[in-house]
């Protein structure tokens, strides 16, 4: 699993897709999540595009596409039950899956130890 400075996690799944979610740190900083808006599937996105809106009891925030690629799957379960993002941010509450050209792009991101240092 890799981590971005925007507190997203990324991992390649068995089908060669990149699964994206937010970290425990992000979920706890956000507080209780009450609303998630996911991108439409089969959308081409560029790294940095704000493609997810997430609202907690406190504030709204955006989640950016961590890589260039295409969103091919989204997790409707967290739209129906946004609280899952607080309960299981690293597992059940993934946000979307992307198809990217070259999985080696993941290597630019932090590994778990580096991320732990990053959040202090």
């Amino acid at each position: 699993m890799k981590f971005t400075e925007d507190h997203e996690w990324l991992r390649a799944d068995d089908n060669g897709l990149v699964v994206v979610g937010i970290t425990e740190h992000a979920s706890s900083q956000l507080g209780d999540v009450v609303f998630v808006e996911l991108p439409e599937i089969d959308t081409k996105v560029a790294k940095g595009d704000e493609i997810v809106v997430i609202e907690s009891v406190k504030a709204a925030s955006d989640i950016s596409a961590p890589l260039d690629g295409e969103v091919v799957e989204v997790n409707e379960a967290i739209v129906d039950d946004p609280g899952k993002v607080n309960e299981d941010p690293l597992g059940e509450a993934w946000f979307f899956k992307m198809k990217i050209d070259d999985l080696s792009a993941l290597d630019d991101y932090m590994d778990e130890d580096a991320y732990k240092d990053f959040v202090g």
Partner: protein, 374 residues
């Protein structure tokens, strides 16, 4: 972020796992480890303990209560002279333009008036009272007391465990009660829509009292985050957001706080700042009104979201002044201002979020029925 002031219960909050944030110049608990949602639900179903020591506590003394009350009536459009002993009333300081300078609670304590004002307005309020009450009224700022609020359906049972006299109080009664060995000034009121008490306690006894209350299995500490969602569901105004120096009490839907005796035809009609606009709006209505709003989707609409009459085009007709997720309602709730002709419950307007307009229905306030012991 320099020189954040710390209040008497600061260390207790930190021990209890609070996330501390700056609020009105004070370092305040916004939430504890349970989080806003659970804290909110706990207050609605059991009892929540809030530290609101940042609020201003002021004693107004003169020759007698009547003299202080008459002086105060020059600053607020409220019947203070007719307030019964050991009774409390909600009101607001108005300005010459008929706007609201702050909202506050005022209690007749027999030989003096006890007032509680908002933290962010406290210095201005004190200056306003010093300037406006005349030389015969002393403005004593109470710096050596903390203020706690115990709110929720089990608040009475909890407080009765410390002093049975708490059960005799009704909504908006005030009393001096000994609690955990300290002389406390207690009112049966709050800012959540639930039954409960606000307790002014000597600063050096505050932690002991707070711990005694928290020992009760029904009581959990509640931060400012849940305080905000609770008051929003209860339809209560937050100064600086839902009401400000421009909004009149009539626009804000607070006409109920202006008793007949201060209105046209009353024995002490007018005589407060902005009386001209306020009395006229009481008779003719205001061009815009505060309303409850239910966004029809799941996305919360927060302060600043503009409201439109149509799904596309046109200029905004109103704005949201408070909004978020209502944990008890189970969906987004908001308050805001709309032109008088669009304030009937059920009216649909559109709130613009991230460039897209979403339907919002005007709703009755409060969103959650009040649970006071009258």
């Amino acid at each position: 972020m320099t020189d954040l002031m710390r209040l008497p219960l600061h260390d207790l909050h930190v021990e209890l796992g609070a996330r501390m944030v700056p609020f009105a110049g004070y370092d305040m608990p916004v939430q504890y480890s349970a989080g806003v949602m659970k804290e909110h639900q706990h207050t609605r179903t059991r009892a929540g303990l809030f530290d609101v020591s940042h609020m201003g506590q002021v004693v107004l003394r003169g020759g007698d209560y009547a003299q202080v009350a008459r002086a105060m009536e020059a600053l607020v459009p409220v019947n203070i002279a007719g307030l019964g002993e050991n009774r409390q009333r909600y009101g607001f300081f108005t300005n010459e333009g008929g706007g609201i300078e702050d909202d506050l609670m005022m209690a007749n304590r027999g030989d003096h008036l006890f007032v509680v004002v908002n933290a962010a307005c406290k210095d201005a309020d004190i200056a306003l009272m010093r300037a406006g009450l005349g030389a015969d009224v002393r403005v004593e700022v109470i710096e050596d007391r903390a203020l706690l609020a115990l709110q929720g359906p089990e608040a009475e049972a909890v407080l009765v465990g410390l002093n049975p006299a708490a059960a005799e109080m009704r909504f908006m009664d005030v009393a001096t009660l000994e609690l955990a060995g300290a002389e406390c000034w207690v009112s049966r009121s709050g800012y959540t829509g639930e039954d409960g008490f606000e307790i002014s306690v000597p600063a050096d006894a505050a932690e002991t009292l707070a711990c005694r209350l928290l020992e009760h299995e029904a009581v959990a500490p509640i931060g400012l985050g849940a305080r905000d969602s609770l008051r929003l569901e209860a339809g209560l105004c937050l100064y600086g957001h839902d009401i400000d120096s421009e909004t009149s009490p009539i626009e804000a839907g607070l006409s109920w706080a202006i008793q007949k005796v201060r209105r046209n035809g009353g024995a002490r009609a007018g005589g407060f700042p902005g009386a001209e606009r306020i009395l006229q709006e009481l008779e003719d209505g205001a061009p815009r009104k505060r309303v409850g709003l239910r966004p029809q989707g799941r996305a919360p609409m927060r302060e600043g979201v503009e409201l439109f009459a149509e799904e596309a085009g046109g200029a905004p007709v109103g704005v949201i002044t408070s909004g978020g997720f209502g944990p008890t309602v189970g969906g987004p709730v908001a308050m805001g201002y709309l032109p008088a002709e669009r304030t009937a419950p059920g009216t649909t307007v559109f709130g613009e979020l991230r460039g897209k307009r979403h339907p919002v229905k005007v709703a009755e306030l409060p969103f959650v029925p009040a649970n006071f012991k009258r």
